[in-house]
């Protein structure tokens, strides 16, 4: 597979502690030239800290690294880049108001003059099947195109080791295929790739070796091809996983009906919704997929009532509710959980009790004669904490103090505990560990079984395929016609999400 087994990078006994948490404890692994090596683990397992140490952004407390046989201790990214290490970030490394060429130049040590650089960007990007126009503003590019900018920035430095942090989270399946072709080509040229992801099927398709981290420690190494995704997931979590159980349910009446919903986005660089139509019956789960930024946030706002539309565009139980606000819709039975936890779903500096009140006040009748019933509110909050296994010292702590996964359990639990008729959730398990994600999905399915109509918007296709009855995709603000999940292939889903957005398969040579 790898052709040569010459060791490129060896990490030995690396430890890094932050106040209160050990991010990496005695981590060792090695990568050979031309090897595609996966780094697996849940959120908070220490993957990011580890690669930041390899890229010189974080200094290890103890331990050794060797790069091509030499001791390797990069003190800053510049030093790492000079040794031949390049990194494609998950977030935070592009400048929206700068052009593609300027963005590329910022990631290079000694960039050639702009005109020459533009030419090289063009030729390299075409050689690898990732066409890019160097003069365009990054803010105007799609998520997939932005990622190409990052990859090209790395490729122009002829890296020996390419680190990729969750590169496929923003891509359609077709785009993923093209990316993998490019990566395999790079590997065949001798570049080692360190690939971070928690999409296990992708890792089985791409990687030669895998190192699995749990709570900062290496718990296993394996050859992904020889293991099933299920086995690797259990190694990551350290427990046996039970997939959510779903009973075949009789469908009830239509609870949520959206007709001809068009609305302008209130978000800068946002995506307006264009003629969205769908209906969800009681007991049905509709999954809505799409690459980030294709109208998911706007759809949630329009359904929750934060964006108002024509009265007839949104009907709850047949009543036109499009022109009413969130509280009227809650009263009618629709609850919504947005994607952004801090600042949208929860007020960061308010306690869990207060946050429970904010959304539960209408359906749980927590206000009597204009006065807050704190006793009932406290019981409601405690109930959510108990039912959804929210790990917190108590309901008096500020929402900000909870970890992302725990807060997610709380805000989703808060909506699901209001005996809703219609549930709208955007990214229900974003940043939540696998065990908690499974319990959230199970809770959603339970509500559906009790007769709620559910709309789940998510970028995680596996999640949608697991819990949804019907499937639709948002692409540039338009929603495809919902189709039953049964019998859908990944290819069809990819096409619904917009296909490969003008990418092409890598050509030979450069």
């Amino acid at each position: 597979m790898t052709g040569s087994s010459k060791e490129l990078l060896a990490v030995e006994g690396v430890t890094k502690a932050y106040p209160g948490v050990v991010a990496n404890s005695d981590v060792s692994f090695s990568i050979a030239e031309g090897e595609v090596h996966a780094l697996l683990g849940e959120n908070g397992a220490g993957k990011s800290t580890l690669v930041k140490m390899i890229y010189g952004l974080v200094k290890p407390d103890s331990g050794q690294m060797r790069f091509r046989g030499q001791p390797y201790h990069p003190t800053e990214p510049k030093a790492a880049r000079a040794s031949g290490v390049a990194m494609v970030f998950q977030h935070f490394s592009l400048f929206e108001a700068l052009s593609v060429a300027e963005n590329v130049a910022l990631g290079m040590e000694n960039p050639p003059p702009m005109r020459e650089l533009a030419g090289r960007i063009k030729s390299v990007s075409e050689a690898y099947g990732l066409p890019l126009d160097p003069g365009r503003m990054v803010g105007d590019l799609s998520a997939g195109e932005r990622q190409r900018v990052e990859i090209i920035r790395c490729l122009l430095q002829n890296p020996k080791l390419l680190i990729m942090d969750e590169p496929t989270s923003v891509l359609t399946p077709q785009e993923v295929d093209i990316l993998f072709t490019t990566l395999r080509k790079l590997a065949s040229e001798g570049t080692a790739i360190l690939y971070i992801s928690h999409k296990l099927e992708e890792i089985r398709a791409l990687c030669n070796e895998a190192t699995i981290l749990r709570r900062g420690k290496v718990v296993a190494t394996c050859t992904p091809r020889d293991r099933s995704a299920r086995e690797m997931a259990e190694l990551m979590v350290g427990a046996t996983l039970t997939p959510p159980a779903r009973a075949a349910l009789p469908r009830g009446d239509t609870a949520l009906e959206v007709t001809g919903l068009s609305v302008n986005s209130p978000i800068p660089f946002g995506m307006s919704l264009k003629d969205v139509n769908f209906r969800v019956a009681r007991g049905e789960v509709l999954g809505i997929a799409g690459v980030a930024g294709n109208g998911q946030d706007e759809l949630l706002l329009a359904l929750s009532g934060e964006l108002r539309t024509d009265p007839g565009a949104v009907k709850i139980d047949g009543k036109p509710m499009g022109a009413t606000g969130p509280n009227a819709r809650r009263a009618a039975g629709l609850v919504a959980a947005p994607e952004e936890r801090l600042g949208h779903a929860a007020a960061p500096d308010m306690s869990l009790v207060e946050n429970a009140l904010l959304s539960g006040v209408v359906r749980k009748a927590l206000v009597k004669n204009g006065f807050i019933d704190w006793a009932a509110t406290g019981r409601f909050a405690a109930e959510i904490v108990k039912d959804f296994d929210v790990r917190t010292p108590g309901t008096h702590v500020a929402a900000r103090a909870l970890s992302g996964g725990n807060l997610q359990k709380f805000v989703v639990g808060r909506e699901l505990s209001q005996s809703p008729a219609v549930i709208v959730i955007n990214q229900p398990t974003w940043g939540v560990d696998a065990a908690a994600a499974a319990s959230i999905r199970q809770a959603i399915l339970d509500r559906a079984a009790e007769g709620a109509a559910v709309v789940v918007i998510s970028q995680d296709l596996d999640e949608l395929l697991e819990i949804a009855d019907n499937f639709a995709a948002l692409n540039t603000g338009r929603l495809t016609k919902p189709r039953p999940v049964e019998g859908l292939t990944i290819d069809e889903i990819g096409l619904m999400m917009g296909g490969a957005h003008g990418m092409e398969v890598a050509h030979v040579g450069h």
């Binding site: 400048f95 929206e96 108001a97 910022l106 800068p268």
Partner: protein, 310 residues
């Protein structure tokens, strides 16, 4: 050619002089804001430059050393801002306002013994026969060297921001400090240097007021020029050449209002003195309306503090 007692050649010539302090201070602030820092202390730094420049010039008898002293004095004051906002992560708006108040007070304290003194004179640049050309002579070729320097500085800032790596890194830091940090750029160091540069230019502008434009020392001599400079940065939508345009426009209004008063015009001067700020408010309204923001190319991290751990 007279327009109600106003001679256009003299009007243009005097508006070029009137706008020099604003151009310099606004250019400095532009660089600071391009690096993502909002320093509202321009007025305070200018007046520190005015008194430090004045004192240095009087003490040494050399106006050129005076300008240097002004730049250094204001840069020292901006260092206070830099330390508070970049290392202690103080709120930039509050710190900037405090800097202005502090600068006004400190300058008045230092300046007590300088009231009523004449500073050494700064001569005009000898451009020989060019100055004798009718109309264009007095308008373009009969100024002190700071007028030319301010125009040159516009070109220099523009070229550095657009064509050099230093400029690109500066813009990158102002655009997204997280991304710049991830790529290994020293966000805090770059911002501190930008703040010092902005302070020095504001100081130069202040020294120009006390050494050439007025020239003498009185309390509160800058009279709001720093606020106009801040407004012009927004008005110019962070583009150096538009700073020149904006400063001549606003400087022109200042001069015009004096001339109109002298000529006994019917327009109340208050309207004219209000107008720069009205225009700025309009620009801000347009800017805050969704897509206008990107079109006006405000640095995306403007006013946000950066800490490496986040």
């Amino acid at each position: 050619m007279d327009l109600g007692g106003i001679n256009p050649a003299i009007l243009i010539a005097s508006l070029m002089v009137a706008s020099v302090p604003i151009i310099l201070a606004a250019l400095g602030e532009l660089v600071v804001e391009k690096a993502g820092v909002l320093n509202l202390g321009v007025e305070g730094m200018m007046i520190m430059g005015a008194i430090c420049g004045f004192a240095t010039a009087v003490a040494t008898g050399n106006p050129y050393l005076g300008f240097l002293g002004g730049a250094l004095g204001a840069a020292c004051l901006s260092l206070v801002f830099a330390v508070l906002t970049q290392f202690f992560l103080a709120n930039q708006v509050a710190t900037g306002l405090a800097l202005t108040l502090f600068g006004l007070g400190l300058s008045s304290l230092i300046g007590q013994s300088y009231v009523g003194i004449k500073p050494p004179l700064t001569g005009t640049v000898p451009l020989g026969p060019l100055a004798d050309i009718p109309f264009f002579g007095p308008v373009l070729f009969d100024h002190d060297w700071m007028v030319y320097l301010s125009i040159f500085a516009c070109g220099a800032v523009w070229a550095v921001l657009k064509y050099t790596r230093m400029g690109l890194v500066l813009r990158a830091v102002g655009e997204s400090h997280d991304a710049a940090h991830a790529l290994g750029y020293k966000v805090v160091r770059i911002r501190v240097l930008a703040i010092l540069f902005g302070g020095a230019l504001a100081g130069l502008g202040g020294a120009y007021i006390s050494l050439i434009r007025v020239p003498q020392w009185t309390d509160g001599i800058t009279a709001g020029a720093g606020w106009i400079a801040l407004a012009i940065v927004v008005f110019a939508s962070w583009k150096p050449w538009r700073i020149l345009l904006g400063a001549y426009l606003f400087g022109g209004i200042t001069v015009l209002q004096l001339n109109l008063q002298a000529a006994g015009a019917r327009i109340p001067v208050e309207y004219l003195s209000m107008s720069p700020y009205l225009i700025t408010i309009l620009v801000l309204v347009i800017m805050s309306s969704g897509k206008g923001k990107a079109a006006l190319n405000a640095p995306a991290s403007l006013g946000q503090n950066f800490h490496a751990s986040r």
